[in-house]
Symmetry: C2
Subunit: 494 residues, 2 copies
């Protein structure tokens, strides 16, 4: 989550207004922004504020400066690439029959294992930033300081008892800044978000129950649902607004065993969707009305590139608390730390009990390290740098897709995050592409990993964690050529 500062500075407020205008289409890509002078006059602000506004929007990638001409609304999407398509809502939404469902865990494990065993030269399948993108210095210093100042840390049994009070307070403060009211005692430290979501599901549903998930969704979630012997109900997602509220409402009315809804509200994996605030509010209402748990996996809120504050769904929650909020710092701070936290609303006691039964507490050192670093200037600087680098990489990858992938390929170009979602023309099998590419040392993530429905065989997630250099360009050229060959088309030469 991004802390919504109590009083945003003037230039940030102004930038947020223009940002919104661009997102709503009031200002379109390629259009000219008001000049410095116009901004000063229109909004009665100083020269410095007007300049800061424009530079801030440029930093966010929403404007581009053309020297001596002015600022223009930037279009990061390469020409010729349509956005990912809207789902077909005419199909009935039903849980897949058990026999169809069983095995996604093995399928995914197999794909991951094949990727691990192969001699991978270019990894376009992953969505974790490589170590070079992190400032490890401040983390290592903080770790060394903690061990020096609290020499008993590794030999203290307290961690067996759960969450550390310092970590709990730090997370409760974060939550408050994002509009969530959580008592420190209700913060539960977790091993990343996988554990949090798994605990949440185990707390609110039983084997045989139905869990509504986004379609397509992160494969890890499908694994958790199957490993708990629950059934995933895939709700169609719009790349613009996230899961279809109509389809969800119908499911809530017709599926008596539906016990939980899991969403990634910001930069949904793999579509990259941000759920609009009105939808967030409606989601909370719907779930509360049906007495169903809404599990919010906020893995990517910190990666959103926007001048407007990011508001977690949990901020709309009311007592007794139907939203289970989960946040992790794996991707934004330290993948090796595996630190996350959750607040389980009315299910807090049950989640705490399950966590204790499963693995006792979470290592104290990792908790204290995350607490010490999460709001630190060094971390915020690194996050800023990380986001800018990822934007360059996403846009660079999108250009390569436009140049080399078959004509008619569509893609989502999300406002932040670690990957793109591609829809190739019908007829392409990304499972076959996975095998072909792996033989050439290129790892990809085919659509079949992100759903049980078989609907995404022509889709794939394209990781954007690498700098776009000659090696990555060649890999995309190869991938594109293989996809063209599947369609019986000649390779494109960009």
């Amino acid at each position: 989550m991004t802390a919504a500062s109590a009083a945003p500075t003037l230039y940030r407020r102004l930038a947020a207004d223009y940002s919104l205008a661009m997102e709503m289409g009031t200002l379109k890509a390629g259009e000219r922004m008001p000049s410095v002078r116009e901004l000063m006059r229109r909004h009665e602000v100083s020269l410095s504020t007007a300049l800061q506004t424009l530079r801030h929007l440029e930093d966010l990638g929403q404007l581009e400066a053309r020297p001596r001409v002015g600022y223009f609304v930037r279009d990061a999407r390469p020409a010729g690439l349509a956005p990912a398509s809207e789902p077909d809502l005419s199909q009935p939404v039903q849980p897949l029959p058990q026999q169809h469902f069983a095995g996604i865990n093995e399928h995914i494990s197999l794909m991951l294992e094949r990727g691990r065993q192969a001699d991978v030269q270019v990894d376009l399948g992953g969505a974790t930033p490589p170590p070079e993108l992190f400032d490890r210095g401040y983390l290592n210093q903080a770790a060394a300081r903690l061990l020096r100042e609290q020499p008993d840390l590794l030999v203290l049994g307290r961690s067996m008892m759960g969450s550390h009070p310092d970590f709990q307070r730090a997370m409760a403060r974060r939550a408050l800044a994002a509009g969530i009211h959580v008592a420190p005692a209700d913060v539960l430290a977790t091993t990343g978000n996988s554990e949090a979501v798994s605990l949440a599901l185990a707390a609110v549903a039983s084997p045989g129950d139905v869990v509504a998930v986004e379609s397509p969704t992160y494969y890890g979630l499908l694994q958790v649902v199957e490993s708990l012997q629950m059934q995933a109900l895939e709700i169609p997602c719009s790349p613009r607004t996230g899961l279809s509220l109509e389809a969800l409402e119908l499911a809530l009315q017709t599926q008596p065993r539906l016990k939980a809804v899991v969403v990634v509200p910001e930069l949904q994996m793999p579509l990259g969707t941000r759920i609009p605030d009105e939808h967030k509010a409606r989601l909370v209402e719907l779930c509360a009305a049906h007495g169903v748990a809404l599990i919010e996996d906020d893995s990517y809120g910190l990666f959103v590139e926007s001048s407007q504050p990011v508001r977690p769904i949990k901020a709309w929650d009311r007592l007794p608390g139907h939203v289970i909020y989960c946040e992790a710092f794996n991707k934004s701070m330290a993948p090796g730390l595996r630190q996350g936290w959750m607040n389980a609303g009315q299910w807090h006691g049950r989640v705490q009990m399950l966590k204790f039964a499963r693995s006792r507490g979470t290592q104290t050192l990792a908790q204290l390290l995350a607490a010490a670093c999460v709001g630190s200037p060094a971390h915020l600087r690194n996050l800023q740098r990380l986001k800018q680098q990822l934007r360059r990489q996403r846009e660079g990858m999108a250009q390569l897709v436009a140049r080399f992938f078959p004509l008619g390929t569509r893609l989502s170009l999300p406002p932040g995050g670690l990957s793109l979602w591609l829809e190739l023309p019908a007829g392409v099998s990304t499972s076959a592409l996975f095998t072909q590419a792996l033989a050439r040392g290129i790892r990809t993530a085919p659509g079949s990993m992100f759903s049980n429905s078989g609907r995404y065989e022509h889709c794939m997630r394209l990781g954007c964690t690498l700098p776009v250099d000659g090696v990555v360009e060649q890999a995309c050229r190869d991938l594109g050529a293989m996809a063209c060959a599947q369609l019986g088309q000649p390779a494109r030469h960009g």
Copy 2:
């Protein structure tokens, strides 16, 4: 596990022989050991070997030296305290009805929570060594060195993919030294043994299935079983030989849903039993014959005080592997690290998949730290010191029980470990004692936490993690007086 050195030195072999003779009763408590001269003559050994033999047995607490007289077989059990009683095998062994069973998790959570909330002055309920008993220096140095030599450790995403190869190799070497053949790739890093046992159960059994456990057993296991919606079948345990093989065999024959047996073979918690080798072999045979998983929780093997090598049950296992071996270093090396590992035999693939679905990998830093420290001289020295200190504390606590607890109290005095198991006279309620004692700042662990059967209401686990000083003596005096009062007897004055 204790590494069984390939070629034990002569004095160790001799000591092992005498040790066995004492355990079998050939040499009884209070009897005189052969003198140095006799040993030299009988076994044709040097003066130095004879002396080393005697000193080694003294170090292990099995002999005591009486100056100018000689060595005598030591009896650590205070006069007047009978050993814990044998189980009543005439009762049928059946899974408890579901309604009786449900709620142990809540009961235990409540007891633990009450202990946490109270103003505890003397903790006689826990079984984790306090930080003072650990040498934190070598651990902190090793952690600092790791972060210096591998500065990317905290920002590397590799840990998300599971177990670190260095950790896997280190554990496979440990296993080999104990007579277990495990390929490094089949070592799975876990967050302590709670996670390992929980994963093992989830891999081999489903909700509604039956799990055979020792009775009494560690409350954490009862929590895991209930949280997985399985049913615990409590198998009576002899304090001398562990779970009744007859009762287990009957259960295997009559319970079609029995899918797993969980045992703590060394210093069983809470009885302190060591399962004899013949029983270990028979256990493996029985489980293999019925196609049932045998889950071995080796949390305390490292704490055994014996001159003879400790052999895990897994050493008797044959392909395809019916024994799931779990070891943790929480209690022996660093409670704050929460590091453990497991080998799941034929269920390895499934356990790995479940682990990935639940929480991805285990933090790399903790894995590497455990790998670096576990066989180090500093760790072995600390372990030796820890064991000697714990022996003093166990024996000191046993003396206090003999002085202050009601006449007729029985106790197990195990050859190692962190606690004693007391059986108070019928009529004492240790649940009531828990409440009374907590009000005086003394935390205890009543028998009701260690079983679902209601059989141990007059029993309790007495933690021996504190040095026996005036404060602990007063706490035991108070506990004893409260128990006497429950029986309508006057307090004893020791």
